[in-house]
């Protein structure tokens, strides 16, 4: 049966949900602000007979993930922005070799060392592929500890289903924030469906080779087109989003993760004052919920994008709504966290058209 309601820190929620989802292998390298996750797993995985290795680097840890994944284990790594940059080569290989894995990025401010404050500035890196080659990650952006538990659980299933890495994109605030959470029933990893591609010694079968080097141009072409077909299937099936007070909205705020919590506060505040404002929150950043947003935009509302980066997700919003709606952006780089009052001011500025907060953006 599901767990009792527990008060937990976000990073611990991810760790507990991962173990309950059958993850038995974790490889990582410390970086603030996500260290509470590997610290939690270093003892929790021992309890369930799993493996925790503090690797010598982010690069080593993502390659240990490759090894564990190709061996059939449910495996996870986590990091924060500069560490995720280092993992990108391995993420590209996971995609090329079609290996499942769950990668957590609790984003901090950048570029470079930046700071450890909450940020959403890795949006491009997560959704466009920070490594080389034509590939995509499923990117899940929860907005509460309960949702963090849900998406962590689902991430392992999605990774296995599509033989593709899945990224959970949070930020420093989400990792540290304590909220109540109820976990799903644990899974016994031994009862998961067998995988027909893994390496476990060729006893009783032909040897297998897992590789991504395809020197023959038509072969690489076919492989990439096969991957694209998979990405199209994911796009058709796995889009997730939430809407809040959008039905009669004159202005729809678009925000994800921590920013959406702030935006929701702004919506509540403005609704109390009689303004018709709603919220559209993508949960999957890739695939982006384009159709849903486009349909909403056709209702005639203006769109106000609020993100903790200076203008990254707004490109997906523009690609979704085209010229159907006017699109405004309030983009804040890592560091100061705006309040609901700040976002409400942005919303009012858009509604009044005074241009005092945010700016209009066009394709």
């Amino acid at each position: 049966m599901p767990s009792e309601k527990m008060l937990m820190r976000g990073a611990h929620v991810v760790g507990e949900a991962a173990v309950r989802a059958g993850c038995r292998y974790y490889f990582g390298y410390p970086i603030t602000p996500q260290n509470e996750l590997p610290e939690y797993l270093s003892s929790r995985l021992l309890e369930v007979g799993g493996t925790f290795i503090q690797a010598e680097s982010e690069i080593a840890s993502i390659n240990m993930v490759i090894g564990a994944s190709v061996s059939g284990g449910r495996v996870m790594t986590s990091s924060s922005s500069p560490g995720i940059s280092l993992k990108q080569e391995g993420i590209s290989y996971l995609c090329g070799q079609e290996l499942p894995a769950v990668i957590v990025n609790m984003m901090r401010g950048g570029p470079g060392l930046g700071n450890i404050a909450p940020s959403q500035a890795d949006y491009f890196q997560a959704t466009r592929g920070g490594g080389h080659g034509d590939y995509r990650l499923l990117v899940l952006a929860p907005a509460s500890n309960q949702e963090l538990a849900e998406v962590t659980f689902d991430a392992f299933d999605l990774a296995d289903k599509y033989r593709n890495p899945v990224m959970i994109l949070g930020d420093g605030l989400m990792g540290q924030m304590m909220e109540p959470v109820i976990f799903r029933d644990p899974i016994d990893p031994k009862e998961l469906p067998p995988k027909d591609y893994i390496l476990d010694g060729c006893k009783g079968r032909e040897p297998r080779a897992v590789f991504s080097m395809l020197l023959d141009p038509p072969t690489l072409y076919q492989h990439n087109m096969k991957l694209q077909k998979k990405y199209e299937e994911i796009t058709a099936r796995e889009v997730r989003y939430e809407t809040y007070q959008v039905n009669d909205a004159e202005l729809i705020l678009v925000a994800y993760g921590t920013a959406s919590r702030i935006a929701k506060g702004a919506v509540n505040r403005l609704r109390r004052e009689g303004f018709r404002v709603g919220l559209f929150r993508p949960v999957t950043l890739w695939p982006y919920p384009k159709e849903a947003l486009r349909t909403l935009a056709r209702g005639g509302a203006k769109i106000g994008v609020f993100e903790l980066s200076v203008g990254q997700m707004v490109e997906d919003v523009l690609m979704s709504v085209g010229s159907t709606s006017e699109v405004y952006l309030h983009g804040i780089p890592g560091g100061p966290i705006p309040t609901p009052a700040d976002v409400a001011q942005f919303a009012l500025s858009v509604l009044k058209g005074d241009g005092l907060v945010g700016r209009k953006v066009e394709i």
């Binding site: 090894g67 190709v70 061996s71 010694g201």
Partner: protein, 256 residues
Amino acid sequence: MSSTALKKLFSRPESLKPNMTHYCPGCGHSVAHRLVAELLDEMGLREKTIGVAPVGCAVLAYNYFNFDMVEAPHGRALAVATGIKRVHPDKFVLTYQGDGDLAAIGTAETIHAANRGEKISTIFINNAIYGMTGGQMAPTTTVGLVATTTPGGRDPDRDGAPIDISQMLAVCQRTVYIERCALTSVKNIQKAKRAIKKSFLVQLNNLGFSLVELLSPCPTNWKMNPSDAWKWTESILTKTYPLGVIKDTSGLGDVR
């Protein structure tokens, strides 16, 4: 049947696929592949082996080895192998890496896997040059050797000194067995086979990390004929990298 029926003395090991390799004439990779394959057959390990191929000339090793294999990103074979061994502690895990892969871009992964005492056997092919990419300097390139990026010969003041990775790894407490051999004469090749066997036994006995370094000719990039390359390996390369057991705390004694 007559009493003079022929006895089969030599054939292709089951652990090798019947594929023609892409290796150059006189290259040591073919010999090293053969030794590994013979031993996996002889020791009954083929069906429990998971191998990790490197980048570089041996990147296509999975086209030649007839057991489960995965390809690792540049230098990361021992990190990938770590992940494999931790999922399958009961399987036999092997990395096969060249000097560019293991001693340059993958130095960190090599040292730390060894230092963790991962129960993995590593075959380290040292030909003192980057082969696949066309003959550039490797960290193992000897002083004075001309590579495409050391036109006047390797100069330690400009290019640094050759790295003796086996000696470096011997310092790590959790390495159990390290030996350097050369793929030159029949005698040396037989020695190499015994060393690889011992390395395999170290893993089978759950003792820790082991590595066999094989000095290997690269006639193409050294711009020598195969015969001269073999001679150069034995007479010159061994001056920088002397042959012999570098570390052995296995307690396994002589292996035949």
